[in-house]
């Protein structure tokens, strides 16, 4: 026969079990030393816990609550209706601003850095600097093909051929 679960014994001690289940536990506990011992321990713990009593409330709580409610009502009445409406609008505006701000930050964090050499600012500047750093001047001394002169002097190939 399976032993009674701890949670069932707790329910038994607390008087939560329906009559049929209670009778079943009674029957089992009578025959099983292990479960009888556990049931006794839980019962004793339950009893000892009952030794802690708290002091009853001394002040008149109903009166205190009534005063607090009246104060809340007076505070609400002192606030003009227009102000109440304005505070709602202000709260809504603040919420929208926060949402826009968060969206902006999220976009900044998640968007990739511009990498297109034509439209991207950072890379374009970098490429421009690199291009400027190329020593094209050395080609002015005359290259093997003659193309450097064409590029540097902006001369049409046909012009050059005609003049030669």
């Amino acid at each position: 026969m399976p032993h009674v679960r701890d949670s069932e014994l707790i329910k038994y001690v607390a008087g939560e079990l329906p009559q049929r289940q209670r009778a079943r536990v009674d029957e089992h506990v009578a025959a099983c030393t292990y479960c009888r011992d556990r049931q006794r321990q839980i019962s004793q713990t339950w009893r000892v816990l009952g030794d802690w009593q708290v002091e009853p409330l001394e002040s008149d709580l109903a009166d205190a609550v009534s005063v607090a409610v009246r104060r809340e009502r007076e505070a609400a009445a002192r606030q003009p209706a227009g102000w109440r409406r304005a505070s709602v609008l202000l709260r809504a505006a603040a919420a929208i601003l926060v949402a826009v701000g968060l969206g902006h930050l999220a976009a900044r964090w998640t968007a990739p850095l511009p990498s297109d050499p034509v439209t991207g600012g950072v890379d374009r500047v970098a490429q421009s600097d690199e291009a400027n750093a190329i020593p094209l001047g050395v080609l002015e001394l005359g290259s093997a093909t003659g193309w450097a002169e064409l590029i540097l002097n902006d001369v049409e190939p046909s012009d050059q051929e005609g003049s030669s």
Binding site: K11, A14, T45, V48, S66
Partner: protein, 183 residues
């Protein structure tokens, strides 16, 4: 729903219509248990009094939205438990002892009374040493006399979670109060 619970729902309807006498009646009916619950969860009388008052203010503010789907006490205890959790978080740095209840006595305390007070203090400490969820479950189950299902309704946990909390809590209490349990 019991007659009392039905009366509570009627009182709540009256409170929703602005009847302050109905609110007073609700407070008088339930203040003792609500206060005892707060006392045991907070282990501070002053804070427990504030929490109990705040709980009834919540009841007043929410009266129009209240639907009597569960017992009024279930709803009230849930408010008290949540307010206690908030208060505990706020007052984590300033724990204070809850004075142990001693029945009024004209004569000097007898040996039995002193012993009872000591036992009560031991139990209070043992319950206070339980982890938060276990303490909430034990206070609701042992001291508020709620069933496992009712504890689950008040806390919003599953019934199996409540059962597991209670099994562990009673085991720890049995261990910590072993000398008293085995007397």
């Amino acid at each position: 729903m019991s007659a009392d619970a039905g009366d509570d729902a009627g009182l709540m309807r009256a409170v929703a219509e602005g009847d302050m006498a109905a609110l007073g009646e609700l407070v008088r009916r339930h203040e003792e248990k609500a206060f005892a619950l707060a006392c045991r969860l907070l282990a501070r009388t002053d804070a427990a009094e504030d929490v109990t008052q705040e709980a009834f203010l919540h009841v007043h503010r929410a009266a129009r939205r209240y639907r009597p789907e569960a017992r009024f006490t279930t709803w009230l205890y849930r408010i008290v438990v949540n307010l206690c959790l908030d208060a505990k978080r706020r007052n984590k740095r300033a724990p204070a002892r809850l004075p142990v209840y001693r029945p009024p006595a004209e004569a000097p305390p007898q040996h039995d009374q002193l012993e009872a007070a000591e036992r009560a203090e031991r139990v209070r400490q043992a319950v206070d040493h339980l982890p938060g969820r276990q303490r909430t479950a034990v206070v609701l189950h042992r001291y508020m006399q709620l069933s496992h299902r009712d504890v689950a309704e008040v806390t919003g946990w599953s019934v199996s979670a409540v059962e597991s909390c209670l099994v562990r809590a009673y085991a720890q209490l049995r261990q910590e109060l072993r000398d008293l349990v085995e007397k």
